[in-house]
């Protein structure tokens, strides 16, 4: 087979993605996604791509046929009609298999694609635990640790080399020399604990689309932090004009109406930290999602005060994600930026639509805190 020029085409593509060449294509770069499977759920993995424009169908009036359970009105798994067709087989006769991912693998992929740095834990007290990990293989050991696969592989190798192996009648018998045993190594692991407190504005101006964005963001933040810390706890705070702590399901489904007083949520968060997570032992993360509307300017100032004196000194990272909505004024973002923009451990991020989720995760987690 002749030498292929894929390297050339691949480099050209990478350069486009990095914005080095072909400015005209820049607006077609989407963070894209690859669909992975985690248990029953489909998850998407960021995958930059250039989407060449074409005449094609939009959503309005579109549909298709599928297979499975559900009553009329049940939402489909993905948002994209193309998903209904499955990804396999865009190429001639290509035969593709999908595999499941573990949470850790997902996190690694995320880290690699977004070039996220590993987190430097902040908790002063680090408990070191010793752990035995079975990582090696050796030729002696107790029978209980015998590695069957390796043993048989050795036996098979030996039989093939010595010509005893018969393809027609395959039988493999290990002898003493073939036996392999698992062996362990003791490693020291710093045991660090972290807590993530999510705050969300559930006042009338946050709609399903905004909440979907929050759900996806929190999924990835969870995935990454769980990958980085051994034990991660999550707490959920919602607020309109008042704040309350809720469980995860409620967090994503509840909708209140009425006004928005952000400071109430900070007060509640402060109490939670005070009570359960002493700052010297815990790595504390706060992520707040809002459309940037607050009740009054006075409350804005009060928020800044609370952040400055109570929250920021205690947390590793305070992330504020402003989900753009047609109803919100979006003032809060600018207000925080003006007053606290210099803070080391605060990150502000605007998320205009779903395509920008990965960009915003990069904002939040890219500091390695």
């Amino acid at each position: 087979m002749s030498l292929m020029s894929i390297d050339y085409d691949y480099n050209r593509f990478r350069q486009i993605i990095k914005g080095k060449i072909k400015e005209n294509l820049r607006k077609y770069i989407s963070s894209g996604e690859m669909i992975g499977r985690k248990g029953k759920d489909l998850v998407s993995i960021p995958l930059p791509q250039v989407d060449i424009p074409r005449f094609r169908f939009g959503n309005n009036g579109n549909g298709g046929a599928g297979q499975g359970k559900g009553e009329p009105g049940t939402p489909l798994g993905g948002d994209d009609a193309e998903e209904g067709e499955g990804k396999a087989g865009n190429l001639p006769g290509v035969h593709i298999k999908e595999v499941e991912l573990t949470m850790d693998e997902l996190a690694e992929i995320l880290g690699e694609e977004l070039e996220l740095p590993n987190i430097e834990p902040r908790g002063k007290k680090q408990i070191i635990t010793r752990k035995d990990k079975y990582t090696g293989i050796r030729k002696t050991g107790p029978e209980s640790l015998r590695h069957f696969k390796r043993t048989f592989r050795e036996a098979l190798k030996r039989q093939i080399i010595s010509g005893q192996f018969n393809m027609e009648k395959p039988s493999v018998t290990p002898v003493r020399d073939d036996f392999r045993y698992r062996s362990w190594k003791t490693t020291s692991l710093p045991e660090t604990n972290a807590v993530i407190i999510y705050i969300m504005d559930v006042s009338g101006s946050m709609w399903d689309e905004q909440k979907e964005i929050v759900r996806l963001e929190t999924f990835w933040i969870d995935t990454w932090l769980r990958h980085q810390y051994k034990g991660v706890e999550t707490r959920y705070v919602i607020h309109d004009a008042q704040a309350q702590e809720v469980d995860r399901d409620t967090f994503f489904t509840v909708r209140e109406s009425g006004g928005t007083v952000i400071s109430t949520s900070y007060e509640l968060t402060e109490k939670i930290i005070e009570k359960d997570y002493p700052a010297e032992e815990w790595n504390i993360y706060i992520f707040q999602f809002s459309d940037g509307d607050n009740w009054s300017r006075e409350d804005n100032s009060y928020c800044v005060e609370l952040l400055q004196s109570e929250l920021l000194p205690k947390v590793n990272l305070f992330g504020y994600g402003q989900v753009e909505s047609t109803y919100g004024s979006g003032e809060f973002f600018d207000f925080l930026d003006r007053n606290l923009g210099e803070s080391e451990n605060m990150v502000l991020s605007r998320i205009e639509n779903k395509d920008e989720i990965f960009e915003s995760i990069k904002d939040f987690l890219g500091k390695g805190k």
Binding site: D9, F55, G61, G73, V94
Partner: protein, 494 residues
């Protein structure tokens, strides 16, 4: 023993099984390659040499990542050529290899015999390599930037071809309509000179001259009939340089080459799956291989909730057809039978199943395959539903379990490869040489942003303002690009 050798040994065995079942394929060459080579080849659509373009690099990036992250792997790839080339992944075990060989022979059989492939170039490997050479030469001569940008532009229009053109004759072959040729001359009755004034009065002659002039100023539409092959129209009439015309021609030729594969995806995969399972379970499988086989096969035909797996739908339909024709469940007598119990146990022992599925694989494409053979019983048995976009919730939802709706949705998603039907209707729009396209609206709106950007690209090629008529929110609209920004106007007549 190395795998390549083993493969060579099992190939004649599987090939013989396949031929004995009546599969008829081109000579097939198997190559055992590693995953990286497989991903590279797949990125190039199966062809070792293509013209240079970054999007192949993008395809490769996705395939390579999918493999590296363990999301997907390619077992096999076949290309429609004579001899037929098939690539197998070298890390797969022998059971997998046997299965994919059986799968491959069925694909080859399909390529060779299905009507919709009858016009494809079976020497496409050479042709693709030639395209590569030509485009590389243009790059040397006119610069990478210019050529690559032009290819980008062409690719935005790649889907504007007439998928059925190879199989029908759209235009009369000769007798080009030249309106002047048979325009009536000025009529004069024969007369003696002194009678001329009375027999052919001057007013009458004058009137005829006026009529003729009026006829000459009538606008004959151009193109005379709406033109579905927009690419060809541009090649013939857009103000392009020679190399640009050639590049656009290359893009068009390759689009036509790949078109039948898109038109027969469900059938082709269904056919290959039908045969790998038949050959493996009835002939090729050794008892020790059962588990590996079952695992692979079930992965192939797995149904994911909400999704339609083309392998599965195809193979199930072929099996259903075989069963119906074996039992005589077709024709007037069966259709008109009202007794459900009798219908269910209907068995005339006609045994025409095999014969029928071979006939189906020869004559049908996905659209008429589904239209003809998807029955209400099948739809119910396989729990099919239709889904649609709900504007209020901004999401796709299950729409209905009604067979008619399901079938219509499915056919709609397959018609014209699930792409909008667009043709050139006027190349001299407003009498100013502007290009007017027409989107045949059938209920699904065009994606706005893509539509805008595609128009801008089309403008690059046509070099005059471009327009498209389509429907938006139940109104007929026209989107236009005249070089500055996109304009939209309502053209509903009321």
């Amino acid at each position: 023993m190395n795998l390549q050798k083993q493969i060579l040994e099992v190939q004649p065995e599987i090939e013989e099984y396949a031929r004995n079942y009546g599969l008829d394929f081109f000579p097939t060459v198997f190559e055992l390659i590693d995953y990286d080579t497989m991903n590279q080849l797949a990125a190039y659509g199966g062809f070792p040499i293509r013209y240079p373009h970054w999007r192949f690099g993008m395809e490769y990036d996705q395939l390579a990542k999918g493999y590296r992250y363990g999301l997907q792997k390619i077992y096999e790839m076949v290309i429609n050529t004579d001899p037929c080339y098939a690539y197998l992944m070298n890390v797969n075990n022998l059971t997998d290899q046997k299965l994919v060989m059986a799968h491959v022979f069925a694909h080859c059989d399909f390529f060779k015999n299905n009507f919709y492939f009858s016009h494809t170039n079976r020497k496409m490997i050479d042709e693709m390599a030639n395209h590569g050479t030509r485009i590389r030469r243009y790059i040397d001569k006119f610069g990478l930037q210019a050529v690559e940008n032009f290819i980008d532009t062409c690719l935005t229009l790649e889907n504007l071809i007439d998928y059925h053109a190879p199989y029908v004759q759209r235009k009369p072959e000769s007798g080009k309509k030249n309106p002047e040729a048979n325009a009536p001359k000025i009529k004069r009755l024969r007369s003696k000179k002194y009678m001329e004034k009375y027999i052919n009065p001057p007013e009458f002659i004058e009137q005829q001259i006026k009529d003729r002039e009026a006829r000459e100023h009538v606008q004959y539409p151009f193109p005379p009939e709406p033109e579905r092959d927009v690419l060809n129209f541009l090649i013939e009439f857009a103000p392009l340089t020679d190399w640009q015309r050639d590049v656009l021609g290359i893009i068009r030729e390759e689009a036509y080459y790949f078109a039948p594969q898109g038109m027969t995806k469900i059938m082709n995969e269904g056919w290959a799956t039908y045969w790998h399972s038949t050959i493996m379970t009835q002939k090729a499988l050794h008892p020790a291989e059962i588990v590996d086989y079952a695992e692979h096969h079930s992965g192939t035909v797995a149904s994911h909730p909400g999704r339609l797996n083309p392998y599965r739908l195809g193979v199930m339909l072929f099996k259903d057809i075989e069963d119906r024709w074996n039992k005589g469940k077709f024709g007037k007598e069966y259709e008109e039978c009202d007794d459900i119990k009798l219908k269910r146990t209907w068995d005339k022992k006609t045994n025409l199943g095999r014969q029928k599925i071979f006939e189906v694989r020869k004559l049908y494409n996905d659209v008429n395959f589904i239209d003809t053979f998807l029955t209400e019983g099948f739809s119910r048995e396989h729990n099919m539903f239709s889904f649609a976009f709900n504007k209020e919730n901004e999401r796709y939802e299950i729409e209905s379990r009604d067979f008619k709706v399901i079938k219509q949705r499915l056919l709609q998603s397959l018609t014209n490869l699930g792409q909008p039907i667009i043709s050139v209707i006027d190349a001299n729009f407003k009498n100013r040489g502007e290009l007017l396209l027409f989107h045949q609206f059938e209920g699904v709106e065009l994606e706005q942003n893509y539509c805008h950007d595609t128009l801008i690209n089309l403008y690059q090629i046509w070099n005059r303002p471009v327009h498209i008529q389509t429907n938006l929110e139940e109104e007929a609209v026209m989107m236009s690009y005249e070089g500055e920004d996109i304009k939209m106007q309502n053209i509903s007549r009321n």
